[in-house]
């Protein structure tokens, strides 16, 4: 009897649920952790304007996002590194990439007695992370930083221990400036590091760097800004030493806009141009070109349109760099290809 009562209650609940979902559109997504703050801001802001749209996003990591969108357990995915050709072939339908915002990765360091902002070049960063440069007073580093008295301290390399889009951007840059890095280590969200210790998450790397005299690591620009961590500048292809900032990261995307491939799968690290910060990257949404559920599809396309235009104004306050105008134009054209009916 009590079991029957329970069943009745469950039945009511199901009926109520069905009634509610007839009005609201619920969309599930999963993927990268890096854009999670801006995505959740967008979802809540969009929900204020369109109360019937509810978007759920699980920040489980780029790899998980790619897996789940491939298995169609979520409607959309999100990733910090574009899907490979093999991964695209493995998916049951055509998947499109849409850059949403930009981020950057910055070198952070802790050298006893040095408060000045250090300058780095790509090759010097490669040599440090390869374990070839082992002392801070190495002439390679001193040459770039005249006037800074560098101590005879050992360099301790700190890298991410967890698989991460941040690592992907960092090693993508290192392999663009060094063939040796490309051949020996390569590019991925987790690599076989030639030297150093691993910290978990941005906070793990930042914590280890701040505690260990002589340490150097890398964290996301947003993380460094929010926690007021000092970071170095990096030389770009034009020869300028550029400090990462919202404008210098957007400049990297603008420089790449002219050569943007149709599928938007492009790495903009080491981009050519004036004022460009070289360790910058897009982060992408992953959408099927022809999803099964057209109602969800229409809602999602409307949302992405909003995010690429009106939504961009929320970037700066959260430390992300907004997309440059030409890239938004290209994306809006590509968005029209998604089947919504």
């Amino acid at each position: 009897m009590s079991a029957r009562k329970l069943l009745a209650i469950a039945g009511c609940a199901v009926a109520l649920g069905a009634g509610a979902s007839a009005q609201t559109v619920l969309i599930n997504g999963a993927g990268a952790t890096f854009p999670y703050p801006i995505y959740s801001k967008w979802f809540s802001e969009y929900n204020k304007v369109h109360p019937t749209v509810q978007i759920n996003y699980q920040s489980i990591g780029s790899g998980g996002g790619i897996r789940q969108v491939t298995n169609q357990t979520v409607f959309f995915g999100a990733t910090d590194g574009p899907m490979t050709n093999d991964q695209l072939i493995a998916a049951p339908g055509k998947i499109l990439h849409f850059p949403t915002v930009l981020g950057a990765v910055v070198p952070v360091y802790n050298i006893p007695g040095v408060t000045a902002e250090l300058k780095f070049t790509g090759p010097v960063l490669v040599d440090i992370f390869m374990g070839k440069l082992t002392k801070w007073n190495d002439p390679e580093i001193a040459r770039l930083n005249p006037g800074v008295s560098l101590p005879v301290a050992d360099i301790t390399v700190v890298h991410r221990s967890d698989g991460s889009g941040t690592t992907y951007i960092w090693v993508d840059y290192l392999s663009k400036v060094s063939d040796a890095w490309k051949a020996k280590v390569g590019v991925a969200t987790a690599v076989n590091w030639p030297s150093g210790v691993g910290g978990k998450g941005n906070e793990g790397v930042a914590g280890l760097v701040q505690q260990t005299p002589g340490a150097i690591g890398y964290v996301e620009l947003i993380y460094a800004l929010q926690n007021k961590i000092n970071y170095g500048s990096v030389q770009n292809l034009a020869g300028e030493f550029v400090r990462a900032s919202v404008p210098s990261v957007t400049a990297a995307a603008a420089a790449a806009a002219g050569k943007m491939p149709a599928d938007f799968r492009v790495s903009i690290t080491n981009a050519d141009g004036k004022g460009v910060y070289p360790i910058s990257s897009f982060t992408w949404l992953l959408l099927y070109e022809s999803p099964k559920d057209k109602a969800q599809s229409k809602t999602m396309v409307d949302f992405v349109k909003w995010a690429l235009t009106d939504g961009q104004k929320f970037c700066a306050e959260l430390g992300y760099a907004p997309l440059p105008e030409p890239v938004v134009k290209l994306e809006l054209a590509a968005l029209a290809k998604i089947k919504i009916s």
Partner: protein, 324 residues
Amino acid sequence: MAGGAGRTRRSGDLGFRLGTGAFAVVLVLIVCAIGFELTRQSMLSIEKFGLNFWRTQVWDPVAGQFGALPFIWGTLYSSILALALATPIALGIAVFISELCPNLLRQPLVFLTELLAAIPSIVYGLWGIFVLVPFVRSVESAMPQALRSLPIFSGPPLGVGMLAAGLILAVMVIPFTSSVAREVLKSVPGAQREGAYALGATRFEAIRAALFYARTGIIGAVMLGFGRALGETMAVTMVIGNNPRISASLFAPQYTMAAVLANEFTEADTELYLNALIEIGLVLFIITLIVNSLSRLLIWSMARSSSTAAVAAPAEPPTVEEAA
């Protein structure tokens, strides 16, 4: 005349036996299912690397080359180190609380050790990064140069590494081992101690006799701690340095199986990579199984030898012989 009542009681007994038996079978099935599922989902890696997975040292997700030896080494090293540090302290706590402690102090002490067990491991990890690691670094830096040339203390003083991992694991293991050891000591019959005193044993000797009597249970307590150390993830990940290179040095950053799973599972983007990570889970499962079986064997053999000893000399516990 009581046949009817007896039969219902007997059928009730049967039902109870079948019911509890079913639970026990479910437990066995769950263990088998875990083993099966781990094997099935790591097939790609098992087929590609075979036994080399257990004996090679390169972990390179980019090249698709996976060897688990550094993780196996790091897991066993950190767990044994933790066990070596924690066991004497945990047993000391257990003996003090159950045998020597004034009544007034007993409950607060029990409460405090159990509180240690309730702290989430992420909290241990953060404490590890911000308090323990700087402390370990200062100890490492202060180590005299003569000792630093020993392989066990070689390498730069980073703070993060095997020593920090072993220390944090020891702190986490102590409440488990000491709680179980305390309960075991409590269950030693009073006659044992009284008998020892009657034979003229000192307090220390009486406690030694009680410990000897309870030794299988105490080994069980130690093995429980070991199992906990093998599987501990978050706190270790935060302080061990996550470097998959085998080293005998306590100062070297190393890696454990649980830590690499926590670190790399979310971003594993190729099938082989994911399969290799799941195989790490399988290896951890097998090693835990082996460790538990070994401890069972040890307990059985001790129980057998003590029962034969009891037959040979039923009245005299061996440890108080010299006192008597």
